[in-house]
Symmetry: C2
Subunit: 124 residues, 2 copies
Amino acid sequence: MSDHADTGGRPAGLPEPPYYAVVFTSTRTAQALADGPDGYARTAERLSRLVREVPGFLGEDSAHTPGGLAVTVAYFRDLAGIEQWRDHPAHLVAKRRGRERWYERYAIHIARVEHSHAFFRGAA
Amino acid sequence: MSDHADTGGRPAGLPEPPYYAVVFTSTRTAQALADGPDGYARTAERLSRLVREVPGFLGEDSAHTPGGLAVTVAYFRDLAGIEQWRDHPAHLVAKRRGRERWYERYAIHIARVEHSHAFFRGAA
């Protein structure tokens, strides 16, 4: 196995670059946890379904350290899809609610992916 | 508060774009958890210190869902810093070990950040 045996694979479900990544990092308020059935979790689940309908949406990766940072990376074919999602009515409502109640802080990075590769155990 | 009251802030510690983001998503083997004091956690901690010495390193965000996906985003001023880190001897050793023992799978995306903004509660 060469040192670069991992560089041949494509990340699952993603095309050859270029494509786009939207990196969303956030920490939530105590209220986001306590907000009940119409609160953060339900909204996040609904948005996660809606974004899949946006043309050019390629997939997303998400991780959340309990009590700490959450990082979600959504992949899009092009900027047009990102702009359509940014302006989606349900997303606009959720973003306003998020700033009012759910997020202590967040940051968004919109980035053009120039290179990507993947490793899968057993495939190297 | 306008709907775009969040768009004026810069993410903490980061300059105006363009800069670069390296997105690393991974799931670990059971062995990564059981590997003891010379294993995954110790190596990750050491690399996290070493990367701060790379010229152009701007910071990183990391989240890990217990038993699930980990997502780390490292920010760099330019591609030269990313290449220097890619070829760092301690990083090369760790990457080989990672493929041999610690990772079930991983993906790396190298992306040029074109736009970023941040929200901080109380600052909007």
